[in-house]
Amino acid sequence: MPISVNTFWTILLIIHGLLAVALLGALTHQAVSVLMPARQAAGPAGFVTRFRGVNGAGYATAICVLWVLTFLMGAWIYTKYRIYVRIPIEQAGYWKTQGFFDLKEHVATLGLVSLPAYWYLWKNAQRAEYDSARKALTVLIASMCWFLFLVGHVLNNVRGFGS
């Protein structure tokens, strides 16, 4: 059964969003695990302890794959965004909103090119001399991901589904 052009791009946008949610969850777990490492409690662990008590190294490859997939989906959708979303946003005078989108594209690329070093640092997490760089890069990438997600969410509210 053929689908309409609008449906096609909407499906791509949903996939992009779902990948971003998975990425955001994994990165947030990992960032919290390096910022506030869990301490093994004598009693049963609470929610916060379990949240930060993940094996961060086990997330590294999945996070890299998710970032690349989310990036590729976003780059694909961007071709339509440039014409069917950005131009109306500019015509409506939402300049700061558009500025944040342009910043989003820059941040997404800066995160992408950090991935090989990020992956290496996590795959050698047993080496204490990498701890500070691994921690800082993980928190930076997680912060980038939150920024990308929130800007994407707001942009979808400005001119997304149904507009």
């Binding site: 990992q30 409690a41 090989p116």
Partner: protein
């Protein structure tokens, strides 16, 4: 409550030969350092590898202005392609350095340079922030 410190984020040892390779370490660090620097240069001096015209699905090498009647031009793909190529080249070149030199590259730069690139990117977008 008695507690004992654990570091769950550090329990998985290296499992692949790539992750254990010092050459990959050098490549990854050199790539992560050079790419943000190159990205800032590409954006400031507008150096995309190619330009994409989404309304006509047309690619052009290097920078090309939007053509009348053909919609906007997109440079972000070209900037990204440029820095991946240049970063990859710098990373490969760095692997030829002796270990004694490549080990001296400060690891802090892998997070510091992307972080420093962000305020510069914010500055380049000034027309959006100050548009009346």
């Amino acid at each position: 409550m008695s507690t004992t410190a654990t570091t769950p984020s550090r329990v998985t040892p290296t499992t692949s030969s790539v992750a254990a390779s010092s050459r990959f370490r050098t490549f990854a660090v050199a790539f992560a350092i050079s790419a943000p620097v190159m990205y800032v240069i590409c954006v400031l001096w507008n150096l995309p590898l190619f330009t994409f015209h989404p309304a006509t699905n047309r690619f052009a090498w290097g920078w090309e202005a939007a053509r009348s009647g053909e919609g906007p031009a997109m440079y972000w793909y070209g900037w990204t392609a440029t820095i991946i190529l240049v970063g990859g080249f710098v990373g490969l070149a760095a692997t030829m350095l002796p270990d004694s030199i490549s080990r001296r590259i400060p690891l802090a730069l892998v997070w510091l340079l992307p972080l420093l690139a962000i305020p510069i990117m914010i500055y380049t977008l000034m027309p959006f922030w100050t548009h009346p």
